[in-house]
Amino acid sequence: MTPESFILLVVGGGIAGTIGAMLGLGGGVFLVPFLALVFDLPMHQAVAASILAVIATSSAGAAMNVERQVVNLRLGMVLEISTVIGAIFGGLTANMLSGQALSRIFASLLLVVSFLMIWRVRHFRQDHTAADEGVFPSSFMDDSTGEIVSYSAKRVPIVSLVALIAGNISGLLGVGGGIFKVPAMNMISGIPMKAAAATSNFMIGVTAAASAFIYFAHGHLNPFIVSPAVLGVLGGSFLGVKISRRIKGSLLTWIFAGVLLVISIRMFTR
């Protein structure tokens, strides 16, 4: 590996992590196409690298969110049952598919994600289920208002079904799945956005770990690709969280929804 390739991997991972964190998507959505299109890495190895990057960013983010008491641990653990089942089947399925098939499924996912990115901005709920109306009651301090927000969850079985699908996509394609889980928790269960995002972030590391060893056992982990990419994504995600607090998100969402559409076409024709 030339020093240039090494630097490109760290910087590319960093950019994927930064944009992913700014948009609330996680780095995997950008890291997999980067490794597949720029480094011409086999799809299974790109997905495996992304799964490890998802574990790293989720764990680093969750460490902060758990201590700030924003994560609903009980709800997260219940939903984890279905996401882990989905992820295990996703990982097993991925290793039965060809790289080209995986690439086309990933391209289709990018189309869905670019649509969801725009759709969710207009449809997120501002209200939430009251603490005595549902199950898994919890509360957290909202930093922006200084108020304690108490809430509970409704229609958990439906959200579990969404979590199962999100877990399956995570194991199959190496993305976190938060783009599906956060809207489901917010719109179906009535969980406040901040708690939904923190709980989803807490979950995706466990979900990713459920399929990581499948890729490891199939020899898809290349340490010389994974290490710099993971370190880049990890650094980038910290930067992304800081930047996202300072800039307005809607224009960014439209721009990157367009970028994802272009990447999707490239992945289809790969």
Partner: protein, 120 residues
């Protein structure tokens, strides 16, 4: 002890486990990359990825070659969520919440089952 205090204590422990996993694995990966660079003045990518059994054999034998160091970081990273779930289970048990201790242990058992199935 008050339930809320115990719950907060669980959250702090989970936070510590996560930090240890992330920074420990990042440190091992950096050490592996750095030693590859120092020993060969370049980073030479092997033609084939080593098999999981070969990696685990080297890890347990205490080998500290660059590739094994990076794999040690990757394995620690992959095991961090396992520790996260186990810490949550221990915490729920301390809270005497049997239902969620069981839920956490079910998740942990699924993760271990997948690990054993993959590496069998």
């Amino acid at each position: 002890m008050d339930q809320a205090v115990i719950h907060h204590r669980i959250e702090r422990w989970i936070g510590r486990v996560l930090r240890f996993g992330v920074w420990g694995s990042a440190g091992l990966m950096i050490a592996g990359l750095a030693s590859a660079w120092i020993s060969e003045s370049t980073i030479r990518i092997p033609a084939e990825n080593p098999s999981a059994t070969e990696v685990l054999r080297k890890l347990f034998s205490g080998s500290v070659d660059p590739t094994t160091l990076m794999f040690a970081g990757m394995v620690l990273l992959m095991l961090t969520p396992f520790l996260r779930v186990l810490t949550a289970a221990a915490g729920f048990a301390a809270e005497k919440d049997r239902r969620f201790t069981l839920v956490s242990l079910v998740v942990f058992a699924m993760l271990v089952g997948e690990l054993v199935y993959s590496l069998r």
